[in-house]
């Protein structure tokens, strides 16, 4: 399952990040790592961007970026 498929209020654990080094590094440096748990705080209109909470940090990402993060719901 992909992060972009989650709805507001869902929680999940990150299984893998399938992104190029640039993006992977950016995600990693914000604490988005395999094994971490996240929580979807909200989405903008038409789900073009979403806001997630990970380790008490709120992070906004585009749908195209959320597509590259594989998760499993918990």
């Amino acid at each position: 399952m992909l992060l972009s498929q989650l709805q507001k209020g869902d929680s999940a654990e990150i299984v893998s990040i399938n992104a190029k080094p640039t993006l992977r590094n950016r995600l990693n440096s914000l604490g988005i790592m395999r094994g971490e748990q996240l929580f979807v705080k909200g989405c903008s209109l038409a789900k073009q961007t979403m806001e997630i909470d990970i380790e008490h940090t709120s992070i906004a990402l585009r749908r195209s970026e959320a597509d590259k993060i594989e998760i499993k719901e918990i």
């Binding site: 992104a19 080094p21 640039t22 993006l23 590094n25 950016r26 995600l27 990693n28 440096s29 914000l30 604490g31 988005i32 790592m33 705080k41 909200g42 989405c43 903008s44 209109l45 038409a46 073009q48 961007t49 806001e51 380790e55 008490h56 940090t57 709120s58 992070i59 906004a60 990402l61 585009r62 970026e65």
Partner: protein
């Protein structure tokens, strides 16, 4: 007095700037890093070590906030270069106590640089409020560097922080280190043992050297490759790397080390943090429920923007008139002192008028930047990007592009400067290039004049709206085209922290506003001075002595006042026609004639390069009505209607909508874009677009009217 150079490094939103501002008696210097438009903040602080009775000068350089040391954005590159190549004594790593784990990730990267370092646990008051207790002594032990708790906003720990810098600078050995998993530590020990055995001479500690070798750091390899020790080392390294691959089950060294750093940061956090209560960040969540609400978020944002622009352009207009009047007064006095000759004219009409036209924008800029600083320091700006990115991304722009673009409707000068909020270079350049499409306030008189002359006053509002909207749409379309063909390449990922909402620090906002204002006056002021002298020269020379003599006789002979006014207007028209500027107008008629524009309109457009306000007054002069014409003058309207065909008028409007903004704006553009070559690109881009669209507009209108 000893000088200690300190670099401040940390992730964004950790309060580095507030920390700097909390240091009392600091002398602040705002500038840019060499070659790039990344703000560079430096300050000198005198610190007296009471125990040792010694005075120190702390020279602190604030590096741009960065999440990691991988050089992807301009900020990251600047920070990384400064850290690797800069000449400094101590790194101060500022850390947000409420997001320790994420912050320690950067700390672990900094520790590997092998420099003297201290860690500042900032925002400790917020951590207390959230029930987060940090054992800083234990953290010091783990990281091997001193850790100091501070709160910039509550003024806690500032003295200790300065003391720690002095102490750290006196330390001989570098103690900071990242502790890896056992299988990596083992290999590090092997290599260190080998280096010790051979007594290898190294400028950095053996441990750091070993770690960098295992990370396959290119610079280290290049260096050590040339040395005799390489033959033996190579063999050892190969075995070590094989072990590491075997244990980690991966062959990607980067990934292995990122995982290691992450585990280190997480482990360190677990060991030093104690959560006494689970007070979540309800405050931020509650505000966000409203401000980024799916449906209400954007209307609320638009309301904020409306207030900001009202303040910028309405309140800003009050001192603007005063500044205008005082420069006018200064010019009049200068003329009185220096006489009506060329010197008086140069100083009054050239220099003072030119500089005055730039200084007039200062109130706008200060108010706008106050607003933007407020939006940024409270944390709202990130929400704006979050909400608008979906729309703007379709055109290759960024959510944050909205603010500079909307500012462009007021004045391009502050708009270009507002583009600084865009941290990615390509996003910023793209935004800078299309700001001109948002018709600025100074173009309004031209539109009003032409609409009044050709379409009447009844529908003026609608026509104006149409012009502004068409401009904005053209801007977005150009953005898309530029994005596809010029500023191409992969988009920067949009992954952004949404900081907590915070009360803004007035001191910090003041420093931002002051810094921006000062750099605006400094740079735009000097260039503008030169350029306005040039424009003055081109419109006043060569002098037409014969013509003037002829007319002065005629004027003297004229009986009534109307006649003499008419004659002096004719003189002004003829002088301008024969000036260098007029000559340019004639010379460039081949360029403008396909658009149906005569030489008078060409000259008006060309003077508009200096300032758009001048277009109307130039038209006034050229159509022999004297200089004191404004857009509501009915005689100028009649004159235009008589002399200009409708297709030409529309072509003229289209050209004005798109072509290069005024001189002041162009100067600021060149500075913000990062070079004069960009101004050349902008000139070519806007002029060709303006020409093509005017050409189309001219011919289509002609076709429709059947002329």
């Amino acid at each position: 007095m000893d000088k200690i150079t300190v670099v401040l490094a940390g992730q964004p939103n950790v309060g580095k700037s507030s920390l700097i501002n909390a240091i009392s008696n600091a002398k602040l210097k705002v500038g840019n890093f060499a070659g790039v438009t990344v703000d560079k903040l430096e300050l000198d602080v005198n610190y007296c070590d009471a125990k040792a009775c010694h005075d120190y000068l702390l020279h602190i350089v604030d590096l741009p906030g960065t999440y990691s040391l991988v050089d992807y954005t301009q900020e990251e590159r600047v920070t990384k270069n400064a850290l690797l190549e800069g000449d400094y004594d101590v790194i101060v790593n500022v850390v947000d106590s409420t997001h320790l784990q994420r912050n320690l990730l950067l700390t672990s990267e900094l520790l590997e640089l092998g420099k003297k370092m201290i860690v500042v646990l900032n925002m400790i008051d917020e951590a207390d409020d959230e029930g987060i207790k940090i054992d800083e002594k234990q953290l010091s032990v783990i990281l091997g560097v001193p850790c100091i708790k501070t709160s910039a906003s509550k003024n806690i720990g500032i003295e200790e922080f300065e003391q720690a810098i002095v102490e750290a600078s006196h330390k001989q050995e570098i103690s900071g280190k990242v502790i890896y998993s056992d299988f990596i530590e083992e290999e590090i020990a092997h290599i260190v043992g080998f280096l010790e055995d051979r007594g290898y001479k190294s400028s950095i500690p053996y441990r750091q050297l070993a770690v960098r070798l295992l990370k396959e750091d290119e610079n280290i390899y290049k260096k050590i490759h040339e040395e005799p020790i390489w033959i033996e080392l190579q063999h050892l390294l190969r075995k070590s790397l094989e072990h590491i691959y075997l244990h980690s089950g991966s062959k990607d060294l980067k990934e292995i080390f990122i995982d290691e750093h992450f585990a280190f940061a997480k482990g360190a956090k677990m060991e030093v943090i104690e959560l006494s209560s689970m007070k979540a960040k309800n405050f931020t969540q509650k505000i966000d429920n409203l401000l980024i609400n799916k449906y209400l978020g954007i209307p609320i944002f638009l309301l904020f923007m409306w207030i900001l622009f009202q303040l910028t352009f309405q309140v800003g207009a009050i001192p603007m008139d005063l500044i205008d009047a005082s420069f006018g007064w200064l010019g009049d006095n200068a003329k009185e002192v220096l006489g009506d000759g060329w010197l008086g004219s140069l100083v009054a009409d050239g220099m003072i008028a030119g500089v005055g036209s730039v200084m007039m924008f200062l109130p706008n800029i200060l108010i706008l930047f106050f607003g933007i600083a407020l939006l940024e320091t409270t944390g709202y700006m990130s929400r704006v990007s979050f909400m608008l990115d979906g729309f703007f991304h379709k055109f290759g722009l960024h959510g944050k592009s909205f603010i500079p673009l909307v500012t462009g409707f007021g004045c391009s000068v502050p708009a270009y400067m507002a583009a600084r909020t865009l941290k990615n270079e390509r996003d910023r350049l793209l935004t800078l290039f299309i700001i001109g499409f948002m018709s600025c306030g100074a173009r309004l008189p031209i539109y009003v004049l032409f609409i009044g002359a050709f379409f009447g006053d009844e529908d003026a509002g609608n026509w104006l709206f149409l012009i502004y909207m068409t401009g904005a749409m053209l801007g977005l379309i150009s953005a898309k085209i530029l994005h596809l063909y010029v500023f191409k390449g992969e988009d920067e990922p949009f992954v952004m922290e949404m900081p907590k909402y915070r009360m803004p620090s007035m001191k910090l906002i003041w420093h931002t506003v002051y810094g921006q204002g000062k750099s605006y006056i400094n740079k735009a002021g000097t260039f503008i001075l030169l350029a306005s002298m040039l424009v003055w020269f081109a419109s006043n020379y060569p002098k037409q002595h014969e013509l003037e003599a002829q007319y002065s006789i005629k004027i003297e002979k004229s009986v009534d006042e109307n006649m003499s006014i008419k004659l002096s207007n004719e003189l002004a028209e003829k002088s301008l026609e024969m000036s260098y500027l007029g000559q340019i107008g004639h010379a460039s008629s081949w360029f403008f004639s396909p658009l149906g524009l005569d030489w008078k309109m060409s000259v008006a457009l060309e003077t508009g390069l200096a300032a758009k306000e001048v277009v109307v007054s130039t038209l006034g002069v050229l159509y022999s009505l004297g200089e004191n014409n404004d857009e509501t003058s009915s005689s100028l309207r009649d004159e235009l209607r008589k002399n200009i065909s409708l297709p030409s008028a529309i072509a003229f409007i289209v050209f004005v909508m798109i072509y290069l903004p005024c001189l002041a704006a162009s100067m600021v553009f060149a500075r913000e874009a990062g070079g004069w070559k960009y101004l050349v690109y902008l000139f070519i881009f806007t002029t060709s677009t303006a020409w093509i669209l005017s050409f189309i507009a001219y011919n289509v209108t002609k076709l429709i009217l059947g002329v």
